[in-house]
């Protein structure tokens, strides 16, 4: 099989090969600009950059996951901008989507890695049983997820962790974390990692990050959790159309009371919008039809670390409404110090374990089970 070198054609050439007119290209750029959460005035600059951009090779690894993230990306109602963006990357390995199976599939991954050394992107969905965990909890082609991940990212340009499981450990990592699940950023320390969290993430956010890489040739600006600021820069609460009700102290107290019927704020029904950063409030779901809060349900905070263990979904956030901003800032500073210490400890643990990585054997599986 020939090596899978990234095609030499630019995006502009590929688009014209698809029969796209220059007006169509302008429209594509307007929609892409919107998808990247950039001002519409940047569309001409996006057009100029896309005209000369090259298709990057992408290797998509799926580990401990439910395939919801891939479903989110591919189950759009109709051919959409997401499809177009996917046309303009070279998706060389995705074991849910690719036709090849078994050794041929793994060979495709290795060839793409070799032919695009230092230039390919790795997308990961799902968490990874850490180096200390029983590797048999999740294997592909007889190799532990940990081994596959570390081998694949070694010569990658960057890693995109798609979904809360890959970004923060997600549901597999929920207490008591039986599989020793870890996130990509827990394990990959020497490559840029972008976290596109959400359970699942909004498809336009996934492709928005890819589009940003295509347009600018680099990764977008990130927040402290490694998430693109363009999509995770503001809280659900700050962008919520029900926010004016919060400001006026108008809350639904139960799912069928008058406040709920009038569309008042869902804070007291457990909405995690004030502590959740995501783009649902503007990008919405199902081709922009609606989103959980518009459908009358509180935000679960699915794009945040440990959302599954963050208390009851229907329990109000513990921060009292009367707390003053300076008190919150002090609390945040304490949290940052504690969090930083824990993160350093976790990093050391991972580093210590990394040197002892071995292939999985039957004896090992039986011993640990």
């Amino acid at each position: 099989m020939a090596a899978r070198k990234t095609p030499e054609k630019t995006l502009g050439e590929s688009l014209r090969d698809h029969g796209l007119s220059r007006r169509g290209f302008l429209k594509f750029c307007a929609a892409t600009t919107s998808m990247m959460a950039l001002p519409p005035s940047l569309a001409p600059a996006i057009a100029a950059a896309l005209e000369t951009a090259k298709r990057p090779s992408v290797i998509w690894l799926s580990f401990q996951e439910c395939t919801g993230c891939t479903e989110s990306l591919t189950r759009s109602h109709a051919p959409t901008l997401e499809d177009l963006i996917l046309d303009f990357i070279s998706l060389d390995y995705h074991h849910t989507l690719q036709a090849a199976a078994g050794e041929a599939a793994e060979e495709a991954r290795l060839q793409a890695m070799e032919a695009n050394k230092g230039e390919y992107l790795v997308i990961v969905d799902g968490s990874i049983p850490g180096p200390d965990a029983n590797p048999g909890f999740s294997t592909v082609a007889g190799h532990s997820n940990y081994q596959t991940l570390m081998e694949t990212v070694e010569h990658a340009a960057a890693v995109i962790a798609v979904g809360t499981c890959a970004a923060f450990g997600g549901i597999p990592q929920a207490k008591p974390n039986p599989t020793g699940a870890m996130s990509v950023m827990d394990l990959v320390k020497d490559k840029p990692v972008v976290n596109v969290s959400g359970c699942p993430p909004i498809p336009m956010v996934i492709t928005g990050v890819l589009a940003h890489y295509l347009v600018f040739g680099r990764l977008p600006e990130l927040d402290s959790y490694g998430r693109p600021l363009a999509f995770y820069g503001q809280s659900i609460h700050d962008r919520c159309y029900r926010r004016p009700f919060y400001d006026r102290g108008l809350f639904a107290e139960s799912f069928d009371d008058e406040g709920a019927k009038l569309g008042w704020c869902l804070y007291r029904l457990g909405c995690k919008g004030p502590s959740t950063y995501n783009a649902c409030a503007t990008m919405k779901w199902n081709d922009g039809t609606s989103w959980p809060i518009e459908s009358g349900h509180p935000c679960l905070g699915c794009s945040e670390p440990s959302f599954w263990d963050a208390g009851g979904f229907y329990e109000p956030l513990s921060v009292p409404l009367t707390l003053r901003p300076e008190t919150l800032l002090q609390a945040g500073a304490v949290g940052a110090v504690v969090g930083g210490g824990l993160a350093a400890l976790a990093r050391k643990k991972v580093k210590d374990a990394a040197g002892t990585r071995q292939p999985v054997t039957v004896e090992e599986l039986e011993q640990k089970l």
Partner: protein, 152 residues
């Protein structure tokens, strides 16, 4: 009429919540932004585009906005990568541009404050090729050396 009618209808409430949409107050802020942009267009000719997809609209906000803007005399459609529906509003210089995909799903919805929406204008690269395009479509008459062009 028209395929332009759906511009504001994508987030319309369904039959289950058919009563009048509540006012979340977001349309008013966009109207003020349009007013400011119109002032700049008139004074300097600078155009503005507002991406309504990026707005935290609640149910009814888009309908309220388009109701205030009204409908003007011009409607147009561009067929490229699916339809793009252009509707002049009742405010001269303010346009709704609805970018739709090949199966009519909305890609994004812009308000343009401009003399004409950008997508209606020929692209400069296309314009540069226009004479050659016309020449290639004109009936050819092979001229013998020494012939002069036909005169009327």
């Amino acid at each position: 009429m028209s395929g332009l009618d759906p511009i504001a209808s994508q987030s319309s409430p369904g039959p289950a919540c058919a009563k009048a949409p509540r006012d979340h107050g977001h349309a008013l802020s966009i109207l003020h932004q349009i007013r400011h942009a119109l002032g700049i267009l008139i004074e300097t000719g600078e155009e503005t585009r507002i991406d309504l997809n990026a707005m935290p609209f609640g149910p009814g906000d888009l309908e309220r906005l388009t109701d205030v803007l009204g409908r003007g005399e011009v409607q147009a459609s561009v067929e490229a990568l699916g339809p793009t529906l252009i509707q002049e509003t009742a405010i001269p210089g303010v346009w709704l541009v609805d970018y739709r995909g090949t199966e009519d799903q909305r890609l994004t919805l812009h308000i343009e404050i401009a003399l004409t929406p950008e997508i209606l204008r020929p692209r400069p690269e296309d314009l540069a090729e226009s004479i050659a395009t016309l020449d290639s479509r004109m009936p050819r008459r092979d001229l013998e050396p020494g012939d002069s062009p036909p005169t009327s």
